[in-house]
Structure formats: structure tokens, C-alpha cells
């Protein structure tokens, strides 16, 4: 895809010139339709909407200055497909194919708003025209996601018009590697992949390590169930990651970088490949970048399908053509990593923050957030909230604001129970801590962790023991199997949890789980094993009563574990319609016309069919 002829940029001045030229192409009154084709909206058919808009644009006369763009994840996935119209930043949600013609006619050509497509505040009924008027967006602060929803990720020109690669130009023309590291240090940036390690310290250690060549890696192996932050950035603004990596490589003294993308993200691979090609064409990547003496190139490697490859040493093993098994980190990877050379690995979101830090300064970045956790964090807010989607908030915001203001509270009028952060390495935080401020150390104190950004909200119908079992099962399947405690310990813990959720728990099971958790934490070889018991430990800490009910009373308070609760028919609500009787596979329901039906508990197999089928919600879980 050509942008501005084939001339390579050979200096910072060339880049500035190109930026000006691109910006000058559009008059302020130019119209632009941005269709979100991020993962959530794409699943609801937004690519087709984009096609339709493109066709409509083609058909308009030359007197109307208009273009259609396909953009990355805007964030409010619950309301997708999302379409934004410039000028005016008009926000349309839940757009369907028949709406395209109307939007075109009314808004684009007629400058009128289509009311029915506007977002409506569920509490006040007020309609919002722009995203700023929507609470979901108002509370956010977007740095890593700044380009998402704005630029077309398949066009480097878009990125440059919005200020892309200016940070790189600044670094190459006026900063020394040590100055770059100092700026990131002043920013206080900490790794966004879960570890939270101070980024500048890592860069400096790698820079000072002996050995060459040095490598720079981007960890795109996002594997936590319920997390798609990195995917949204890789697909929505790949150049932010690339620019960040080039700046980091310059600071460290590396000439070769890798982006390791999870096998299950083929679109991310495609977008990154295209971005790299365009960057090379333009001279911001490859030999003698922007005419300087610095050369750096990036290679993309796909994962083979293993969650454990998100661990840095396992990832490097994978890049060496070996099974993704972690190794001891007594000697850090910044000293001896990929192929035994000094290697600096950072997460997608970490890299995406770097250009902004260089552009606006470390001090600016550190003015956002808390004392020890600076800047913002991207979260995937999913689960039982009203507004599910992608959000970026300043560190230090309370969980309550995220769940209630941004998330819009619990769906279906149910009660909040817990929010799970940190994926399989994290824990569940209950209602009593909703006012906790989100930052690395706070979350760890509460028995969870920041993790990569997955935030799963649970309500009163969620069985916390079952949640612990789910994560333990996940980790057992994904464990590399190398070290004894992780491989055997996870199986032992899973065995106990299965017994407990089947009603075969024994007194002492909780203590056994705690003992195993201690053992894994102390003796496992890698972070996966060491943190594997966190979901269990945190649910025991805050929901011990649920464990006790399962074990001592063989009862599941949340009524999720089959066999540990019963179904009963509410004789007052029952209209004797007979639907449950007809559908019961065990013939356990009796009842005649006009007589409330009854479930024979001895025959009942607890399949839940009657509960699902009853049109009068007369079947209760007891």
C-alpha cells in the first residue's frame, strides 16, 4: 500500500515534512466515517458495514470530501458495531446494515444526527452524541489506546498524520541512549504484562550487560482467558508497538527485534506484518533509520499454541526452536537470554506507551497514577457488567469506579460478588475492597495482582469454588510439565476441587489446598507454577464460607455445582402448564392439569431442564 510516493525518509525533517503534507490533505470540513473492526465489533459483522460505507463513498460526487476508514477497537464492545463520524465525533452504536444508508444520507450528507443510533444512558435516559458524553469513556484516559478507533492500522500515513514516528525522530536526532533510558526512568513505567518490573531498570541492565548481539522482544502471547488488550493494540495500532520497540532497541544497543504473537491471533500477525513492511518502505525501520547510523529490524514469530510461552524464558525457548519450557532465572535474561545473549523482553502495552513518554516527557507520564504505579493501564472489563469492553484508566482509580461507572454496574440487577484480576495467576477481590485503588502493589496486597489486564466481574450466581476449579484446570492443561510441584501439585489440587464441587469434599481439604499452595509458591520453577494457586488461595481467603458449605453441608450456596443444590417447583407460581413434565428426561415430575407440579427428588438427575424451560420461572434453585 503506497502512501506518498516511494521516497524513503532520510531525516527527521523529511518525516516532519511528510506529516505536514498528509495533514494538509484534509480540510477541516472533510468528512470521515470510522468503522470499528476490532474483535468485538468484527464478530458482530462490522467488516461488512465498512464495505457498505466504502461503496457509498465511491458513489458520491467529487464535490464532497469524504473517506471511510476501518479502525481498531474503540472499547465499548457491548455496544458494537461502533461507527464514528467526523466532523463532530458523532458516536453511533449497535449499527446494522440497513442503518448505513440512513447514516450516509442524514449525517454525512445532511449534517443531521440519527437519534435511534445514539448511546442512551440507562439511568437517566439521556442520549450522548459524542463519546465524551458517555461515562464509559469520560472516566478513561487513553495513552496506549490513543490511536485505537482513530487511525487506520493498515495505513502508515494515518499514523504519521497523527504524530507517529515523531518520537523516534526526536530520539535519533537529539537524544543519547542513556537519555532515553533516563526519560523512561523519570516516567516510572513498569511492565504491563503482569510482572510490573521497572522498565528503565530492565533496559539499563540489558544495555550494560556483556555480550552481543543484543535482542529486543515484544511479548504478544496474550493467553489469559478473558483478555484481549494486546490484541486490540496489535490490530488497532501496530505502529505504536513498532515505534516503541525501535526506541527501546536504540536505548539498549540492539539491532534485532522479535514480536512473538500467539498462534490464535492471525489477524494481529497480518496487521503487524503489513505495518513492518510499510515501515521498512518508508525508512523508519531497517537499515540506517531516518538516515541515522542506527539500524534495527523486526521479525514476527507465531506461537505454536501454548499458554506457558507467555513466560519470558519459555518464549525465548520457543524462539530457539525448542519446546516452550521455562528455565531458572537465577541469571536474568537481560544478561543471558535468547541464544544466551542479553535480551530485553517487554509486553505489547509496555512498548505502546514508549512513544508517548518520549513525546510528552517522563514527568508528564509520572504525573498520572499513584506513587509507585505511574501512567495508565488497559483493562478488559468482562463478565457480569452491563458495559463490557476495553478500557484504559489512570492507575489509582478505584475498582468501584471501573465496575460501577465505566462498567455500568452488574447486569440483570444482580449483586456484585467479586472481580477477578490477573488471569490464572491472580485472585478474586470481593465487594468489601471495591474502594481499593488499582495499582500494582495494592492489588498484590489484596491477594490478587495487576496481571496483564483481564478483569472478570462476578455476581451472586457465581460459585467461587467452581471459579478456583476452572483456573486450576486451565493451568493443569497448560503447565509445561517439567517441574514436579507444578505438574503434580496442580493435579493434586484439581483432584481435591473436583471432589469438593461434586459433594465429596472432606474436612481438611481446605488445609490441604493451602499446604499445596505454599509448596508450589516456594518450589515451582517458574511464575506459572509459583502463582498457580493464587485463585484458590484468594477464594479461600474471602469466600471460606462457600468452601465450608460445599465440604460440610454438601451444598453450593451459589447454586452452580450440580448435585449440591436442588430444584423445587414454587407451588404458587406454577400454572400446571406441563412443559417441565414433558421435558424431564428422568420422568421425575408429576402433576395433573390445574395441580401445581412436583419434582420427585429421588428420580431427579438435577439436569436443570425444567428450570430452563419453565415460562413462569416457577422452578427454583434451592
Amino acid at each position: 500500500m503506497t502512501v506518498l510516493g516511494n521516497a524513503k525518509l532520510r531525516s527527521a525533517a523529511d518525516l516532519k515534512h511528510m506529516q505536514e503534507e498528509l495533514r494538509a490533505r484534509h480540510t477541516p470540513s472533510a468528512k470521515c466515517v470510522r468503522v470499528c473492526t476490532g474483535p468485538g465489533c468484527a464478530a458482530k459483522g462490522s467488516p461488512r458495514l465498512y464495505e457498505l460505507f466504502c461503496e457509498a463513498v465511491e458513489r458520491t460526487g467529487a464535490d464532497v470530501e469524504i473517506e471511510a476508514k476501518s479502525v481498531g477497537c474503540h472499547g465499548l464492545c457491548e455496544c458494537g458495531p461502533i461507527v464514528l463520524i467526523q466532523p463532530g465525533n458523532i458516536f453511533y452504536q449497535k449499527v446494522e446494515e440497513p442503518d448505513v444508508a440512513e447514516i450516509f444520507r442524514e449525517t454525512i450528507l445532511g449534517d443531521r444526527v440519527v437519534e435511534k443510533l445514539l448511546y442512551e444512558n440507562p439511568a437517566t435516559g439521556q442520549k450522548a452524541v459524542t463519546p465524551e458524553e458517555i461515562t464509559f469513556y469520560k472516566v478513561q484516559k487513553r495513552i496506549a489506546l490513543a490511536g485505537n478507533g482513530l487511525i487506520d492500522p493498515t495505513n502508515i500515513g494515518d499514523y504519521i498524520a497523527e504524530g507517529g514516528y515523531i518520537a523516534l525522530a526526536k530520539v535519533l536526532s537529539s537524544m543519547t541512549p542513556e537519555e532515553v533510558i533516563s526519560e523512561v526512568e523519570a516516567a516510572g513505567l513498569r511492565g504491563r504484562g503482569g510482572g510490573g518490573f521497572p522498565t528503565a531498570r530492565k533496559w539499563r541492565s540489558c544495555r550494560e550487560a556483556d555480550g552481543s548481539p543484543k535482542y529486543v522482544i515484544c511479548n504478544g502471547d496474550e493467553g489469559d482467558p478473558g483478555a484481549f488488550m494486546d490484541r486490540a493494540i496489535m490490530e488497532g495500532n501496530p505502529h505504536a508497538v513498532i515505534e516503541g520497540m525501535i526506541i527501546g532497541a536504540y536505548a539498549i544497543g540492539s539491532e534485532q527485534g522479535y514480536i512473538y504473537v500467539r498462534n490464535e491471533y492471525p489477524l494481529s500477525v497480518e496487521r503487524l506484518k503489513l505495518a513492518i513492511e510499510q515501515a521498512r518502505e518508508l525508512g523508519v525501520l531497517g537499515e540506517k533509520i531516518l538516515g541515522s547510523s542506527f539500524s534495527f529490524d523486526i521479525r514476527i514469530n507465531r506461537g505454536g499454541g501454548a499458554f506457558v510461552c507467555g513466560e519470558s524464558t519459555a518464549l525465548m525457548a520457543s524462539l530457539e526452536g525448542r519446546p516452550g519450557e521455562p528455565r531458572a532465572k537465577y541469571i536474568h535474561t537481560v544478561e543471558s537470554g535468547l541464544h544466551g545473549r542479553p535480551t530485553n523482553l517487554n509486553n505489547v502495552e509496555t512498548w505502546a506507551n514508549v512513544p508517548a513518554i518520549v513525546n510528552h516527557g517522563g514527568e508528564w507520564f509520572s504525573s498520572i497514577g499513584t506513587e509507585k504505579s505511574k501512567g495508565t493501564k488497559v483493562f478488559c472489563l468482562v463478565g457480569k457488567v452491563v458495559n463490557t469492553g476495553l478500557v484504559e484508566v489512570p492507575m489509582g482509580i478505584t475498582l468501584r469506579r471501573i465496575v460501577e461507572e465505566i462498567g455500568g454496574g452488574i447486569a440483570g440487577g444482580k449483586r456484585f460478588k467479586a472481580v477477578q484480576t490477573g488471569g490464572p495467576s491472580g485472585g478474586c477481590i470481593p465487594a468489601e475492597h471495591l474502594d481499593a485503588r488499582v495499582d500494582f502493589d495494592e492489588l498484590t496486597k489484596l491477594g490478587s495482582m495487576m496481571g496483564s489486564g483481564g478483569m472478570i466481574v462476578m455476581d451472586e450466581d457465581t460459585c467461587m469454588v467452581r471459579v478456583a476449579k476452572y483456573f486450576t484446570n486451565f493451568l493443569q492443561k497448560e503447565s509445561c510439565g517439567k517441574c514436579t510441584p507444578c505438574r503434580e501439585g496442580l493435579s493434586q489440587m484439581l483432584y481435591i476441587l473436583e471432589r469438593v464441587t461434586k459433594g465429596e469434599g472432606e474436612v481438611g481439604d481446605v488445609e490441604e489446598l493451602e499446604g499445596l499452595a505454599d509448596l508450589l509458591g516456594g518450589t515451582a520453577l517458574c511464575a506459572l507454577g509459583k502463582t498457580a494457586a493464587n485463585p484458590i488461595v484468594s477464594t479461600i481467603r474471602y469466600f471460606r464460607d462457600e468452601y465450608d458449605a460445599h465440604i460440610k453441608e454438601k451444598r453450593c450456596p451459589a447454586k452452580e455445582c450440580r448435585g449440591l443444590f436442588r430444584y423445587e417447583i414454587d407451588s404458587e407460581a406454577c400454572t400446571a402448564c406441563g412443559i417441565c413434565l414433558k421435558n424431564c428426561p428422568a420422568d421425575a415430575i408429576t402433576g395433573e392439569k390445574k395441580v401445581p407440579h412436583v419434582i420427585n427428588q429421588e428420580k431427579c438427575t438435577l439436569c436443570g431442564m425444567c428450570w430452563e424451560k419453565c415460562p413462569f420461572t416457577a422452578v427454583l434453585k434451592v
Binding site: K477, G481, K482, T484, L519, G522, T523
Partner: protein, 269 residues
Amino acid sequence: MRKGKPVPTVTIDGCKVEVENGETILDAAKKAGVWIPTLCYHPAVSSDASCRICMVELDRGDWRQLVTACNYPVRRDIVVYVSSEGAQQARRGVMELLLARAPESQELKALAERMGVKETHYPKVTESQRNCILCGLCVQVCEEIIGQAAIGYAGRGVDRTVAAPFRQPSEDCIGCGACAAICPVGTIKVRIHEDEQEVEISPFKSRAKLLICEECGAPIISMQVSEQALGKVEVNCEEFRERVRLCPKCRRSQTAGRLKAAKFCKKES
């Protein structure tokens, strides 16, 4: 760069020893005469510290870190606790998990006894291939020392096993038995099949033809091992090559016979 001292000191259970920069805590323990159990460690091959049985506590000032002794590199003065409650508890926990996995290995039970672990309170929840604890020594010795790499790991997690490619008898196995020799829990066995004149490495089902004694018909050694060894020997003596085709017993008889015939021993009349 934190390269450290050239000759750091390790204080291990109160006993001070000096080691060379880069030697491990286990090396220091050996010098100090302190015993630390090991399973996946062997001085002849590289290991990954995967068994976790050699855990010791490293003094970090206000806390203690559990580390594996066999591969922790000593680069500055450190204080290590082997018999502390924390270290012992960690090692015992790991051993109990292993005993649950591999209940029939006599060698494992003996090591457990020595560590003070009489039995395990964990049930058996994973399947092992004849008590294999996945220490990987067999894989390492075959690749690093023998150079054949006939077996390797297969699968992931609880399904991880040691196997020959495609779980078929290996095309590269030369039947030397090094894997059986190094296996610390008695999983691997060398089986001689007299009628087929083959040696089998069980449980991998790999077989190799045996060199048979020309004199008495007893099996000597795998033919491939013999050929490989001969290939590395500089001796060009025909007699030597002949001698190799006899089993040790027959070779001794033959030598004795020849010595006698040579009237080597001068006995006074």
C-alpha cells in the same frame, strides 16, 4: 556489571567454604560435607533443576528465598540453610508428590527414607510410565554423552513422557544402556533376548542386535556400541580386533592359554 567476586564464600548451615565464581550451592555443599538430596542432577550431564528435590533456603536479609542447590550459581558471598525447617519442609513436600506419582520405585523410597520421609499422604492422581519421575537424565545422557538423541520428551503437562519419536522403537538407539544406568528410579531396564540375539531398552521398546561371542555364544554387547567404540579407538592391531569378538570370560581363557603356551612364567625346576 554484577559479575561478583572471583572466589566467593558460601556459609552453609554455619560452615564457611570458598568456591569459584559460577560454581553452584551444591558444589559448596559437597566441599562442606553437607548432604543435599538430588534426583535430576548428575555431574556428567547438564540438568534443568526440574525435580526440585534439592531445595535450600537462601538468606535475603529480611526474608529467605527457596532456591535449587544444583544450579544456583554463586557469584558473591551468600548464606544458605539446608537443615532449616523451611528448606526441609519444601524438600519433603516435593518428595511426597513424587512418591504419590511413583509409588513402586525402591530407589525413590530409599531416598525418601534417607530424607526422613516415610510415606506420602497424597493419593495417586497422575500416571507415570513405570515410576518415571521425568528427571530427564536419560534424555540428556543419550544426547550429550552417547550422541544419539534416540529418546526425548513428548507431550506437555501431565501427559509429558520420555519416548522415542512417534512412540515407536527408535531408529537411533544403539542399545548401550546408558539411560538405564543413569536412571535414578529404576524405570529403564535393559533386557537381553537370547533367541533373537537382541538387546531391548524397556520401556522404549528400542532394540539393537547383539554381538555374540564366537567361542561360547554368550551375548557380549550391542553391535553398534562395539562398532562405535572401535571407530574411536586408534589401535590398528589385528589381534585386538579379533579379541573383541570374544566375551570377557572366553577372552580371559584364551589369554591364559596363550600365556601358558608361551611358557611366560619361569618356574624353578
